[in-house]
Amino acid sequence: MSGEEEENAAELKIGEEFLKAKCLMNCEVAIILEHKYEQIQQHSSESDPSSQVSQVFEKSLQYVKRFSRYKNPDAVRQVRETLSRYGLAEFELCTLGNLCPDTSGEATALVPSLKSGGRFVGDARDEKIEKMLNDLSLIKKFE
């Protein structure tokens, strides 16, 4: 990359701009894009080529539909609410929401930055992460 400090998502080095920005989980993107896709379909007349969606849009929509853990909009809201109680950065929150790890070992392997920042420290660390993952799987179960 250009002269800036090298990026590394594992240490949350994703640049000031994206660190402050709102991250979206795949399931949230699915809701937004599906809504937008319906709108486009309604307004489009078949003769109008400008109403076609871009390839980037189409590929993204397919991708998020395939990899959404939660389908129901209420569940999606709950996931964000639950995870935000644990003082996670946006990027961490969305990685966990997308990948839904089963154990605290898996969670810290996938999101190494969980171990820094003093949010999950000491002996209770794994327990606390475990509890967070448990909360997540409950939402999935009752969806």
Partner: protein, 177 residues
Amino acid sequence: MFFHIVLERNMQLHPRHFGPHLRDKLVSKLIKDVEGTCSGRHGFVVAITGVEDIGKGLIREGTGYVTFPVKYQCVVFRPFKGEILEAVVTMVNKMGFFAEAGPVQIFVSNHLIPDDMEFQSGDVPNYTTSDGSVKIQKESEVRLKIIGTRVDATEIFCIGTIKDDFLGVISDPGAAV
């Protein structure tokens, strides 16, 4: 990762569009110009979700075109080094395999596939463990880590690895049948 961010762009509009529908014209031109594009800094612009603000237009001398600064919200997809995500395998060969995560292409070289997985050629080229329990072929879903990105004028290309804990196949199409 997908982000919802606010971007700004200077839009030039021909004077023939000036009138009661100026704003509509500006927004539809913005969507046409921006959606589907890619920049190294912000990644792929997937969809514009709203226009925050349209500033005062400035007439450009000599042409009559007017430049409007437009602030808009959009969903972007920006891959980061070190990010872990799920992707669909699109092509397998002896060099490694290609996978797709939304608009972005990711290549995983055979050096970054676990050593116990061997390439098998044939009708459906794949990587398989010696006991045959795990298989990577077209349409497999894998979880991978991005270890490098290359930015082109119009595309971002990534290099990934599945040689780490908790990475690898999450579902293979053969098993699902």
